[in-house]
Amino acid sequence: MIRITTLGNPASRKVLLKQIYFTGFESAKVIIVIALSIGTIIIAQSILLVGSGNASITAKALIWIVIREIGPLLTALIVIARSGAAISTELGSMKINGEIDTLVGLGISPISYLVLPRIISGILSVFALTIYFETAAIMGGFLVASIGWHLPAEQFFQGLYNTLTVQQLVISGVKSSLFGLIITITACQQGLSVGRSATMIPQAATRAVMSSILMVFIVDGIFAILAETFGMN
């Protein structure tokens, strides 16, 4: 059974910090660039639809799409492509090279030293990256709209203020944390399931990526249904 207390171990904590740096910090640049593009696209499409005079509706569209759906989902997909594949490949290589056996032989639990820090870092990183994504998408969208279409800032932010609820932010946070959990558990499980052949490493990485994508979309769908059912819009 995985115990959170094992993170009190200094060796596991060191791995956790490395993983947070790798997933949460090094992914930030690509996440922000994609978020700026997405924000721009959404704003441009909204203005085409409702015109540049309706800043409030434009802001609402941005909030609904980015906070409720695209933010957690796209962040999860980027983390799957980058960190999910990397984790399964790294653990698969360690398994083939006998490094997992070495750890066990040293009395070190691979679960507490390798798996748990990756899971915790996945949860924290996807959560944080989703916040970066949503902030960058909204700010990027606003900048493009205000420069390109002279969208009034006051109306835009009034629309944001009226649309954005704590409930939406909580759902976005819970969803992104759950996605982080799914991605890292799947990647670790696939990586550690590698046998003795090197050809199993890319197979494990592919399975980790595909299974994570599938799971993330299923969970996202369940969230959408639950939100609709319980009126959490």
């Binding site: 060796a11 490094e99 009395g107 070190i108």
Partner: protein
């Protein structure tokens, strides 16, 4: 200087007992007793026999038949926590060195100490001293995946020395090394064996020349079946 830990080795109780142990289908059954202070060379006809045997002794693989007792305890009857505690009393040097490739040399040396006991400035100083003792000439910040086999074994030895184990298991210690490198590692192993009263050393090898290089050790041949 290795860390001073409070593990005492029983003089009466054998550290390792194998009874008709078969680690894989093709290996002959093996029986042996490793008592306090002994140094034994176990000569196997094939490397895979002693690789499998080492896996069983560390609790990585289950034996096909027979019994194994470590420090008076049946290894496969222990909980994971108990087995983990037991493994801290064993230092193992595998044929490939057994390092974690994405960690640097110094991180590898400190890993088990950091995980089990935490490290202080004193431990870091001891790790540097141990690195000098094994005469490692490379960089302490190099990734271990980039090291050659001699350096890998030096680092594995330094890691084991720092943990100050009661039982040392060497799997093909001098395989792939030149005579100077072999002499260096064997001398360190012999010296380390005598540093702690009651410490046992078990050399698993297919190299028929090893007994002449370790004249103090008891030689056992796995091909002869039952051993004692």
């Amino acid at each position: 200087m290795p860390l001073d830990i409070n593990t005492s080795i029983s003089q009466e109780q054998p550290l390792l007992v194998l009874e008709n142990l078969r680690s894989d289908l093709s290996s002959p059954p093996c029986s042996m007793t490793l008592s306090s202070g002994q140094m034994i060379i176990l000569l196997a006809p094939k490397e895979e026999f002693h690789h499998a045997l080492m896996g069983v002794m560390l609790g990585l693989n289950k034996q096909l038949s027979g019994q194994i007792s470590l420090f008076g305890q049946q290894l496969f009857h222990l909980s994971e926590k108990e087995a983990c505690a037991l493994r801290q009393r064993i230092g193992s040097i595998s044929a490939s060195g057994g390092l974690i490739s994405n960690l640097e040399v110094m991180e590898n040396i400190l890993l088990p100490t950091l995980y089990h006991r935490g490290i202080s400035a004193e431990t870091r100083k001891q790790a540097t001293e141990v690195l000098a003792r094994v005469e490692y000439s490379g960089s302490a910040t190099m990734l271990s995946g980039l090291l050659n086999i001699f350096h890998r074994k030096q680092i594995a030895m330094a890691r084991a020395i720092l943990m100050n184990p009661d039982l040392m298991i060497y799997d093909s210690l001098i395989a792939g090394l030149n005579p100077e490198e072999s002499d260096l590692l064997l001398n360190i192993a012999k010296e380390f064996h005598h540093e702690k009263p009651g410490r046992c050393s078990l050399f698993l090898t297919t190299n028929q020349a090893l007994p002449s290089l370790l004249p103090d050790a008891i030689n056992i041949s796995l091909t002869k079946g039952s051993l004692s």
